[in-house]
Amino acid sequence: MRFKLGFALALVCAAALALPALAHHSHGNYEDTFMDIQGVVKEVHLVVPHSWIYIEVKDAKGEPEMWALEATGRTGLQRIGVTPEYVKPGDTVKARCHHLRDGSNGCLLGFLKAKDGTVKDWDGNNAPPPADF
């Protein structure tokens, strides 16, 4: 898992946004399209240059598997009201994110619906929450 995260970080360290047109150079290891995923938060790392949330998701057989969600850095999240109290281990959250192209359990946020039901743009673009999320 760490290897996958590190590989992902290598590609995005220079980039802070996930504009689809940038896939060629900066977020090339993530799909351009979104997927939705829901799980229970295990760890939250509000750090720079990019933040990470680890969530436990049930796979098709109902078995738990760990997913890593990447977000913009701490400063961008702090600016939209994300604090260590906002998302904590044990919270059930829903994410809309770009899946890693290699199919492993990593995803680039996107939007995150917190335990309190609020939705924020964790990619730092201050985009409005999608109506169907």
Partner: protein, 271 residues
Amino acid sequence: MIRLLNVMAALLVLISIVLSPIPAFSQSKPAGKTVLGWYPYGKEFPALNSPAPRLPNGKPSMAGMWGQVRRADVTDKRVAPGYIAELPYTAWGKQQWETYDPVKNGDYAGSCLPFGFPRTVYGPHPIHVVHDNDQIVFLAEQDTWFHLIPTDGRPFTKDLPPTWWGESVGHWDGDALVIETVNMNGYIKVDTIGHPLSNQAKITQTFKRIDFGHMEHTFTVNDPKTYTKPWTVTDLWTVKPADDRILEYSCEENNEGLYDGTIVRWKVPKE
């Protein structure tokens, strides 16, 4: 008699209230009070369309905390007006663009090296500008970098070694502040997607403060090694809310991939 004294006393109180100094802020159109943000504590935050602040020398002040236009790709028309539709590459510039591969070869930003002026300006993080008669200072949240630019009429320094940010000096063209930057090391990119610059590049930026809340920024690249002719991108910067502020940013903090080998370490390219 007592009633007359009471009436006179009441009149005196009323007159004293009417004639008392009125705090200046009550005459403005406050958009909100500052709460430990970038704007001076305790002062009312002006309306965004109120007049541009002025320096002691009468020129417009560019001071403030600004939200730039985030351009990860200066050719991307979806971001905002003012983009450059097509870049006029030289053969060398085209080769630089087509062979840029940060995944395979690493990228200097992935190694937390300085972005330089262009990529910082077009990055996602705000910039706090401090300005007086003789200098303007850009305090970038991105990696907590700064860039100090004299505006006192001095020329460029001779024989300085090239650097990531290069050397900048500023001068006035009417109410527009013109900042010219030279002596960059040739490694920095214009933007996240990696549009190239050489060590021959000269960047000219103009800053025109439209009002308190807005500033027009132009960014012109003159780099004969990379581009056949100069090109310009134009942006509208917006002042950040009073309670926002520049935050500490350390790229090294969690850049673990650089140390475990999963980020390709950037190396000085072989020319």
